[in-house]
Amino acid sequence: MADKKENSHEWDQRHYSAHLLNIIFALSSLIFLASMILMFWKDYDREWRTHQRSFRQVELAKTQEALAIEQERLTSASSYTTLSNRVAELEAAQAAQKSELDAMAVDRDKADKKLGVATQDLNFEKAEASAMRYRVEAAHGEHDHKAEALRAAYEKLTLSVSTKSSVVDGLQAELEALTAAMTARTAAVDEARKELGKVTLQRDLLALRLSKLDPSKMDVATRLGDTVRDLPLMDALNPRYNIRDHQIIVEGITEDLIFDRVPRVDRCTVCHLGIDRKGFEDQPNPFKTHPDLDLFLGLSSPHPLKEFGCTSCHGGRGRGTSFTSAAHMPRSPEQAAEWKEEYGWHELHHWDRPMRPAQYTQAGCFECHSGASQTTGADSLNLGLAVVERAGCYGCHEIEKYVGRSRVGPTLQHIASKVTPQWAYHWLNDPKGFRDHTWMPSFFNQTNNSDIKDRTDQEANAMVQYLMRESRAHEAAHESMPTGDAERGRVLTRSLGCQGCHMLDGETYPETLTIQSLRRQQGPGLTGIGSKTTALWVFNWLKDPRAYHPATRMPNLRLSDQEAADTAAYLVSSRKDDFAATPPPAPAAEALDAIALEFMVPGMTRAQATQALATMSLDEKQQYCGSKLIRRYGCFGCHDIPGFEDARPIGTTLNEIADKSISKLDFGLQHDLPHINYAWFEQKLANPRLFDEGMVKEPKDRLRMPNFHLEPAAINAVVTALLGFTKPDDELKKMVPRTPRRIFVEKGEALAGELNCRGCHVLRGDGGAIKDSVAYWLEHIKTNSDASEEDDSGEDDGWGEEEEEIDVAALARAYSPPNLTGEGAKVQPTWLFHFLQAPETIRPWLTLRMPSYGLSDDQLNTLTAFFSYDAEKPFPFVSQTVVDTNSAAYAAGREMFSPSAMSCARCHITGGQTPIGSSEDNWAPDLAKAHARLRGDWILTWLQNPQAIEPGTKMPMYWAPGEQSPVPHLDGDPQRQREAIRDYMFSLGNTQ
């Protein structure tokens, strides 16, 4: 032990080689250094920095180009040449005085420096004085005997300050004098340069921007700084490429972190650098300009970037600064593969709100605009909502937006009086077999129940039998009908406006569903009716749809008996007799027992159920199964069914469906399907039963959602709507202020959608689905009937000669239902109320008929208010225009109205008197009705410029702006003339 202690300090006793340890230490230090360098490099090497670098190049090129163009424009502009020549001249003249001016400049600089020194001196003295004042006050406070001495020192300092102050003043004056002398000499040049500057402002701004972008335009120091500031490590100070300057801290919208709300910070613009700037439309992403700057991002757009950011509409992780961490989502598996290749993208699993893929972006609109039925610019969302309404999704699935909507299908209360059990059985089994575009979905013969066809046939039959047995008697108003003429009926269906809501037999459906073609499917397609029901039933239905189905949306067209009979005759001429040719299967006791047991057993034991079944007749079993099956399949979601008037919908709620956890969506064995909610929705809509594939399920547990056979465009639209059904975020809801106007417009829009006003009318710039049918009618029916009339009467109304020159579009417009855009500004609310309640004929030349909807007062008020609020017009009370029939203006009005002047009655009907001398397609509404119908101020605007209100109208513009009035009355004052005409017009109705 002793010698060990002795030698312990000696290095040669060590068992480890110092040299080797040193080498290992050196190596490990190097490894450590390398790891540190790697750490800094990883921090430095970011996607966004690369993007910002390349964007600078793009911006540089764009600016150079713009500058060159601007320079060219200036060079060719005469004002520029003149001004720059003048500047050059004056500068040359000034050059003569250079030595003198230089000397003056030297003097001024000297004075400036002296002033600087003096000012600093003064400021230092002031600071001393302030400090001294504090000491004096403090000494006083502490009753220090030194207070007086300090006070004296302070006084002295104050004196010094005022002396130094006056020195500064003197120097200031001196400097000003010198500067004034100089500017006086250079005034002419400065003025000329300023003038030139006004012309070259744009170029100078571009040049300024370029000077900050283009290293070759920088001086050595700036250029050095420009390089150094972005080097690794140095970029901690004030880098050009950074996140801070580009991110958007969204005003007023925060991010919900469940336990807290934090400011929403969108860093998308760190890479999407050109998103809110015009001129980068031709660039690839991420530099591309937003496709719609007028609606989004622009300062004057309704969604400015600073207030909305990006993620409030698009979703995604705003704080992410890499392609993956921003939670980008591909539009298709192909794009996903592409992204993986290009950006190393993978789905960001741990983010609840990933970005919506491009095709579903419009779902974001719904987060704020959930009250609206139509959102401007969101075509896909609008279509999706329209399909949801048409298909009646809300019948089975609760959707907050549609709470309280009436059922979408026809009533089955009196089904026995309408169809045969045999037809109903086949219809239930295969609706598409009867009408390939029906909105009745398919429940049977689907992928998950075609293997139990024997059973489902029994099910279908049991339900039909239940409906038939429970069907209540329907007292039809007419027990017989006049003999109808199918040909006349054909003409009627094409003339009255049926095509606003129905597709007629023989019409082809467009390949892709659009909102316009959907409007024409408001009612069922009118094919095969002869095989479905009787002519008498159709006759009664047409005469009064509400008698059969009080909640129907089918309006009353006020058909005469003959018209109704003709139409019915035409409709039943379409037959599809092979559809329901075979009788339904006979009820099978065994199958019915099995079905009945499924329903009975949870409530009783199997033995009890079997016993109960033994006492039941076959019909009773069928009845029992039918009623239970109707509940299972939820038929009452769409149809009014006896015994199920108040049944609750069977589907899962769709409120907040977009936020539903992915684990709650049963993907079944569809492992190839991406585990994303919209992929599931798409699949569910394309084949609602697919997720049963490969699953072992009892018939009663199988998926029940029926197949609507939606086409891809419709699926895409519906999924857009579904992705919009999110948990309401109060902050986002607030973005759309709940003004009375908006509330009434939304309510009215919803009702207009329900009533399908846009099937015939253009409303708020959209609609008029019947337009093409009107064109068809003009071409094929009107021409024929006119020709036959001509043959009959031999009378020439001018139609024949003008035919060649007639503008087809204008003609179609003349025979189309009126455009209701701006209707609220045009008509008086009271009149509109009464018109909607009981339509009267305004345009007798139209064969199309405004139907009677039998609206409730509530609905009438909603629509009336909707029109007025939409046009931002007073509602409900409007003042009446008072007409003094004794005034000179009134007399002038009458004269102007007369054939000798403007000849208004040449086109307008007046008090039922149809115009003479103009063809029917030039006719215009009855002016005698104007006083009750139109708003006085609207007439004035209309007269002034009809095209502005209704482009393409045939109403002439009498008072072209800047031109003299066409008539000399009332001193040729257009405004007074228009008022006079209006007053006269208003008196027409009153006097008659």
Partner: protein, 371 residues
């Protein structure tokens, strides 16, 4: 290949792997002379030779690489959360091997009548704290830092979305070092699995060296001189802790269901969970009569069994099988040792009873006491 994967999936089920490992364990770490005899006969001691170590590590590495070819295995193993556990497996095996190799060397030396290596190798006998030990430690620290930095750069922290109490992840897993506790929760109520057992296991592992009164093996690595205590310690450490962490990390999926290493983590996997209490087993299944109304009568077998296990078994053993052992240790030490060991053994016993008899509780007095 698929058959092999399927076989491994089956084998890794704790119901199979745990009993196998438990039996195997005592042959690898023999607690008694009998086991030691078999250990030698089966050549398990060769695991601790350099060749054995190389083969063991090599096989583990090859198995890992080969298994990562399977997408499901890869998904689980490469999860940033789980990578440390892979390192843990290799680390535990390596350090176990290192110490066991030294122990084996010394045991052979002692058998040959030599002194342990620690007394002969000057490098192990006296090392300079400064500069050698501190220098080596400094180098180790630097390398460790470099390793952690590089690891953190290439395998980034698995950050997730803002926590939402309404949306718990499935499976909800504890941090890796608590996964053994979470695994115990499957078999015991929280107060036992979360409080009593961990405390006893930790206290027991700490106490083991102090319960060993034999000084013959002190001061150097040796296995044969203190085989019982090393064996018990390794049992608590390797089987009741590390093994359960591995199971919890790699083999427990959605709904805490068991998934083989090559199986898809299907959230919809259904397994029967029909567990019964001991009282039901005895009264209904065995005696074919309804459960008695009296709680004490109903649970009598469980209560008596448990009391017997903890308080009657030790004195009985003291008088019989463990007579010599108890005499060496002294009453106090023996009592403490038996209590800790029996409590520790309760966990594997309960696990095995669950798997074999679907046993839910030995004693079940709802609202008051369940074990």
């Amino acid at each position: 290949m698929e058959t092999l994967k399927h076989l491994l999936n089956l084998l890794s089920d704790p119901r199979i792997s745990f009993p196998i490992l438990m039996i195997l364990f005592f042959f690898i770490f023999p607690p008694t002379a009998w086991f030691e005899k078999w250990n030698k006969r089966l050549h398990f001691d060769r695991l601790w030779t350099p060749v054995g170590g190389l083969v063991m590590h090599g096989l583990m590495l090859v198995a890992l690489v080969a298994a990562t070819l399977d997408p499901n295995f890869r998904l689980i193993v490469t999860k940033p959360d789980n990578v440390p556990i892979v390192i843990l497996i290799f680390g535990s095996v390596y350090f176990l091997w290192l110490s066991m190799r030294q122990a084996r060397d010394n045991d052979q030396r002692l058998e040959a009548g030599e002194k342990p290596d620690e007394y002969c190798d000057p490098k192990r006998r006296d090392i300079l704290v400064w500069p050698d030990v501190l220098y080596i430690e400094l180098i180790a620290m630097i390398l460790c830092m470099a390793f952690i930095i590089i690891w953190s750069l290439y395998l980034q922290a698995p950050l997730e979305q803002p926590a939402n109490p309404a949306l718990a992840p499935n499976p909800a897993k504890a941090p890796w070092y608590f996964l053994a506790l979470q695994e115990m929760l499957v078999y015991f109520d929280p107060w036992l699995a979360g409080v009593v057992f961990p405390t006893l296991i930790i206290v027991g592992l700490i106490a083991l060296p102090y319960l060993d009164s034999d000084r013959a093996g002190s001061g150097f690595y040796s296995f044969s001189r203190r085989k019982l205590f090393i064996s018990l310690f390794c049992f608590g450490w390797l089987l009741l802790w590390v093994y359960l962490i591995i199971v919890g990390t790699f083999l427990r999926g959605p709904n805490w269901n068991f998934f083989g290493p090559f199986e898809v983590w299907d959230a919809h996997k259904v397994v029967p969970m029909n567990n019964v209490n001991l009282s039901e087993l005895i009264w209904i299944k065995l005696l074919h009569r309804p459960l008695p109304n009296s709680i004490l009568l109903r649970e009598a077998v469980g209560i008596l069994g448990l009391l017997g296990y903890l308080f009657v078994l030790p004195p009985l053993l003291e008088k019989s099988a463990l007579k010599r052992f108890a005499g060496q240790m002294g009453r106090m030490r023996y009592g403490l040792f038996m209590f800790l060991s029996l409590m520790g053994l309760l966990l594997p016993i309960k696990m095995i009873l669950r798997w074999t008899l679907s046993l839910k509780y030995l004693v079940s007095i709802p609202g008051w006491f369940n074990i």
